[in-house]
Symmetry: D2
Subunit: 218 residues, 4 copies
């Protein structure tokens, strides 16, 4: 499984968000690999309508409907076709009570929650909240091009182990520095269900080729 | 001038956002009053496309394009047709340096900035940043149904005075508790260019009637 | 065990912090009950020097020594005689990664961590970080005078159960609304090791009597 | 005027805070230069008691007395002998409404407020709040060893100009990268009343010598 985070990259926004989502859809179909995309709030409605792959939000706020100017909640992204949301990304860290709120709310709505964590112990903690996925991303490797599955394989292995101990159903993704097919395969070998990545594909000179390479199509 | 903040109210989201924006458009045309709407990020693309009145975001983040998962910036809302954004709403307070960043960025992009403030002294401070508008909203009156223009007219008057002292071009709106045509007229008499309101219309049993009443159509 | 949080109450600051800490020391000695106090940063050095009971900080920042203007870290409070710190109090909620940082740092320094949580699932999550204590405080009962051990006994019982499942050594405190000896005894019966309270004693007309009543001295 | 921010540097905490404050007192006496120190909350009570120079907090929270666990307010630091506080330091940025709250509160208490800003426009904005001092510190120069008075003299000049325009009584300090006597003198020539610095002295191999050099004693 591959989750592609478009972040606020210019190369993954607006028309280019739709183009990249179409590329992801195409590569997914040809390779048989599950690929989902996490897009900007503004792009979400159109991307969710135009592609068949799963579309995620990059963040949601821990609120219900109400007097919350500027907030986007789980119900809202659902209404526009999102399958779920990233939560607590390292660039959008949240308070524990708010992570809990969002994971619970997404579960109630039968949506997918992907909670990002920075190490093994927070992975264990988050697993207790029973999210769909925990994505462990050592902060020092994010955007580094050095894959966590290569540089710190024991982090991935231990994250998988502690997550399962606390909650059998939780699936672990690994992020940070994933770029090549080898990184991806290595992540799966270490027990991860898939990878969460961003710059390796979104900022690639040739996004399509980068994604094809990642899934092993070339 | 009337700026209608849809907040994260269920009555101002999704299909109902579009419906309410159409009502605003209709009432604006019939009354000759400038009415603009500030909508959810998810609703912004479709609302901006479907109505002729100005559409604003309720918030923007103080970032450029880049590795900012979950962020929405000024360039992004512009690309989807927004005229500008609310900034520093009492439900989304920002750091001073970030307010400055957003006001400057919107000015560069020839967009409209509406910075919310809580009293006379912060109105003066914000005016120094040269936003398009400052919207003064005493927090104790927000959502109260007690109009600031009635309960604390001196706040509006003084806000207008200090804003102009610091920056001639800044225009002052008044918010908090505005519901009736009388409140609106009173605000204009006190020197405000218009009002920023939310629950008085969005949560009204009959939104259209509430808006018509506000502009003096009935 | 009783942990008394002085908050930023005037009745628990400065000279009155020292007086109240002396009262706590006296009641602890006479009753044989463990009583500790969590005091303001400014009061901590003098209180820790003047009383024999354990003194805690009310919060620490998730930083090491360095360029962190305004921050107080675990090493610092230790140097001034603190036994540990409250973490993630409902009035000072923290990001998950920061809770993890503080719990780990306090453990390294052989200090006591008391992490506050708002419900059963966050109690389980925090237990995975292996703090000394988790203090579960349903937010709706804080400062209410309605004891969690009475109003929502199942929250306390389940919190104890899930905490132990994840980490045998973690001890559970219960907070929110505790005022009487009966509330305290009830908390212990439900499996809690003790209580965390504030207004029930600090804001009491007669602080000494309130504390004596709490431990069952009168 | 020299304001020395000890930050959370190990070299400016605990015993070393007191030693460095004594050095500052000694250099101030010998040179006739006003030198004040901004110390950690935990150090503040003892330092304020032991030295005759002005002692400041590095931050205060925008609250009154009450249920604010972990907070330190203006009244509290006053009770322990502080002369005032830094506000909105770049390492502790605050919301605009909170800056306003703290400046007003310190003024009421006849204490000194030093509000840090990042550029000319925020300096103008803050001046509207009528603090005692605004300390302009371009973020890119903080801790750089490259003095703002040298690298961006126009920032200091314009900051002084706009501050005075908005509020005659406001005095401007300049920070960021100040290390040498030359930097200091240059700052005064540009219209600043003094400098705010940290690492240049606190992290110096020989703190006393660094401070003597700064004031021109050697």
């Amino acid at each position: 499984m591959i989750f592609l985070n478009f972040k606020a990259y210019r190369e993954g926004f607006g028309k280019r968000a739709l183009e990249l989502a179409k590329i992801a859809e195409n590569v997914s179909e040809r390779s048989g690999t599950y690929i989902a995309v996490a897009v900007n709030f503004l792009d979400l409605p159109i991307v969710a309508k135009e592609v068949k792959i799963d579309v995620f939000a990059q963040h949601i706020d821990a609120v219900d409907f109400g007097a919350f100017t500027g907030a986007v909640n789980a119900e809202m992204i659902k209404e526009y076709g999102a399958k779920g949301s990233l939560i607590n990304h390292s660039e959008k860290r949240m308070k524990l009570a708010d992570i809990d709120f969002c994971v619970s709310k997404l579960r109630e709505l039968k949506m997918i929650s992907i909670v990002c964590t920075n190490n093994v112990s927070t992975t264990k903690a988050v697993s207790a909240l029973r999210p769909s996925f925990v994505a462990v991303e050592p902060p020092e490797l994010i955007g580094s091009g050095i894959a966590v599955s290569k540089a710190e394989p024991e982090v991935v292995e231990r994250a998988v182990k502690v997550a399962k101990e606390v909650c059998e159903e939780v699936r672990v993704l690994c992020g940070a520095g994933i770029t090549t097919h080898e990184d991806y395969v290595r992540a799966l070998e270490l027990g991860a269900e898939g990878v969460l990545l961003a710059s390796g594909v979104v900022k690639a000179k040739d996004q399509k080729k980068a994604l094809e390479e990642l899934v092993g199509l070339c």
